[in-house]
Symmetry: C2
Subunit: 483 residues, 2 copies
């Protein structure tokens, strides 16, 4: 694929120039990308609405989030702690030969390939979180845009290229490749210039990229965010106190964006007891009234329908409710099912993600069965506790189990709505992601694209400026924080 090679070679050629830009300039460049995206005006929103079927308010919010995360990383760059600076100077009075002067900083890995997601045409696509964090780290980016929204991607790519030119950066800092099929993606991941990969999408897609990356002559890391059913544990006190109210807010989270979120609550876990039936009937009623929503692509809609149908036909699964029949052929109807803890434990297929507004309630006999069901779950992006004060002891017993299973634990909220902040983790143990030691949302996402380098006995004239004594940046000196 000539266009892949050409984009990757340009990214490689731009890398040394780009990574050595002043971090203040790099911060301004990220902010400029945000400004250029805003300058696209309503045409961007209308284009994304047309291509994705998502409503205006959602896409306007997503645009705000996209610009906001570029600004977040600009702030991170200006503070400087992302470099992880460490200095172990030779103690005064010691001859230099007694111990070496050692200084450490993190440098970017190299050009990064970013695979845009279908479900966030802005915030997880061309200028999304992977792109923003890779550019912040000092890595040129080659995007493979999602074929579901090529025009949206092209507009955003133009905005980024404008910012590249306005910032006086080499054009190889950013490229946007489009095209369907897997050949383009495979060429990109196996191109020798690519040093890391960011991906948001299906498990099959993510695992295929991981395999390609591991088989390279020089293997590279793949940060693939793949699948999650985001179990929500409805604890007994919460159900007793407000089972009905929980039912209504649950369906709000379930049907948001036609359920096409990585953090969609696809699994509910509860212990049999008071309030559970009230929850079920409230949730069922709201599901049965939920308007069908256009799904992202016909293929996604088709896969959703097939998965819902499989649950409907499952001998151990009860269909509790379904949204009204849709007028449009590609509109998804919400669906709500239940099964027993025993049946869930007996059939791994019941733990699989259904991408869309479908959720399965697992009714557990007791705490032991609830624990067994949690333990049987695969690695997740999130797990959630709906709890009251009286549930605290039970929740405290569960948290150590939940910590090992996911990247974020939510109390009395819903997993949808991933805030872009410093303390956010949008990641989790395999297979939620291919590398549970990372996040793809929030400022910590920059860590994925950096590696440490140590400089021993460097004369000040040769030392990277950020490691000189007078750099004025946050760092550890002999392990102790200092500025």
């Amino acid at each position: 694929m000539a266009e892949v090679r050409s984009a990757c070679a340009a990214a490689e050629a731009a890398f040394d120039v780009y990574r050595t830009t002043d971090t203040g300039d790099r911060a301004a460049f990220l902010e400029r990308i945000g400004e250029e995206i805003l300058a696209l005006g309503d045409e961007l929103i209308v284009t994304a609405m047309r291509e994705s079927g998502l409503p205006r308010a959602r896409l306007e919010g997503e645009r705000g989030r996209t610009v906001g995360q570029l600004r977040l990383f600009a702030g991170v760059l200006r503070r400087g702690d992302w470099m992880g600076l460490r200095v172990d100077p030779v103690p005064a009075g010691e001859t230099p030969s007694a111990r070496a002067d050692l200084r450490l900083r993190r440098i970017p890995l190299g050009p990064v390939a970013v695979f845009g997601a279908s479900n966030f045409p802005l915030a997880f696509s061309t200028a999304g979180g992977d792109t923003a964090s890779a550019l912040a780290a000092g890595c040129p980016v080659v995007v493979k845009g999602h074929p579901a929204h090529p025009a949206t991607g092209a507009m955003v790519a133009d905005a980024i290229r404008k910012a590249v030119r306005a910032s006086g950066l080499p054009s190889g800092v950013f490229a946007n490749l489009t095209g369907p099929g897997i050949e383009l993606g495979a060429s990109l991941v196996t191109d020798p210039a690519i040093a890391a990969v960011g991906f948001t999408g299906s498990r099959a897609g993510g695992l295929a990229l991981v395999k390609l990356a591991q088989a390279r002559e020089i293997p590279i890391p793949v940060f693939a965010e793949m699948s999650s059913v985001n179990p929500v544990l409805l604890l007994p006190g919460a159900l007793r106190a407000r089972g009905e109210a929980i039912g209504a807010t649950f369906v709000g989270s379930l049907t948001m964006g036609a359920g096409q979120f990585c953090t969609n609550p696809g699994l509910l876990l509860a212990i049999e007891g008071d309030g559970l039936d009230a929850f079920v009937s409230a949730a069922s009623r709201v599901v049965s009234e939920a308007s069908p929503q256009t799904m992202l692509t016909p293929a996604i809609h088709h896969a959703y329908e097939a998965s819902v149908e499989a649950l409907r036909k499952h001998g151990e699964v009860t269909a509790l409710a379904q949204g009204p029949a849709a007028e449009s052929a590609s509109a998804g109807r919400a669906a709500f099912f239940s099964t027993s803890g025993k049946a869930f434990l007996a059939d791994k297929a019941l733990a699989h993600e259904v991408f869309g507004a479908s959720s399965l309630l697992v009714r557990c006999a007791d705490e032991a069965e609830l624990r067994a069901v949690v333990a049987a779950c695969e690695g997740q992006l999130t797990m959630t506790l709906q709890m009251d004060d009286g549930d605290t002891a039970l929740a405290a017993r569960l948290v150590p189990l939940l910590e090992r299973k996911c990247g974020r634990i939510v109390v009395n909220g819903w997993p949808t709505g991933v805030e872009v902040t410093h303390a956010m983790v949008h990641g989790g143990p395999f297979p939620a992601t291919s590398d549970g030691r990372s996040t793809s949302v929030g400022s910590l996402a920059i860590d994925r694209f950096l590696r440490p380098v140590s400089y021993q006995n460097f004369p000040p004239a040769l030392l990277p400026a950020v490691l000189r004594d007078d750099a004025g940046l946050p760092r550890l000196v002999n392990g102790i924080p200092a500025a």
Copy 2:
């Protein structure tokens, strides 16, 4: 392998107890291990001398380093920044529903398998850097001891077990498995309880473990430190000013520990010019007088001899010097070769590691060829510049290239002698290690065994104590450092 399963099951059972120990108690436990190792007294040194053939002074130094790095991690634990705490509180005046309270900490991955190295029977083995950093992170450790020093490993394992008991910890926190062959190691890496692997050894061994770890139902990270020839660049000014002196210090680094260091200077790069011949003749003279040294095992000695013989027979390689004939059959003779830049670029085999006191000088025609040779090198643990003030401009042009090729750059020193400090990186791009984003030496090594978890809207009673407002630990609050 029943003993593997049993050790891993015990490690898994101990994990939740161990990871939730007070970090001050965990620090004291690490220090206690150091004390118990010291309490083994001279018998440990004598045993290690017998098994490894290494001299007393070296092993006493290695013991000091082993105890020192346990103490280093104890200090890291007490400071608390290893947890990477981040708090994004709900701003005062905002209703909780406007934005979530998000708090992040890093938690340990789970039980870690550690493969001891042949060449450091103490500092990279049973209680070595991988074990110390994994235990510090809160991970139980299952060691596969190197078969070259089973008695040394057993003594150190006893010391660790004593510290486990004295600290009131579950016995599953530590296990030491011994046995030759690869079956034991394969069982360990594929055991479902194991969450990460630390390895120091050959490239073939490391890559085999990586493959096993990636093929698991739940893949796990492998931190394998594998091979490096540690290129040393002799810049023209330094050669002119002190070519002869550099020759002598070079051989000191080359022959240290019979050359059996990961950071042994196996490759020298120079541009033809004044001083190079003085360097060559000085280095050749010292090599020809270097006493043969017993190598770690007969197999290692045999492989060394075969590699040296292959260089000797290579049509484009000149044998410059060889150490005196050895009296003992397993003693290694130092060897020094040279070749041209052109020949080096034409034959990848010349870049391969020779484990032992052999080094190859590549004579480059000019700066362009020097750069080409550096670019042709694989990822390395270290690269070194021998330079004078007059070389600064050339060095500054080279550093961006060296940064991309290695984990540590040394100026006017030698790569051997890896200090255990906060700013040390003992790591580097593939194939120096399997994951260039990490270090196996120094306090940053703890990062390998941690992953971030985010806690959203947790009531204080349920929040991990270290994330409460009154925890008094170093953390970022809305991205800004605070204590």
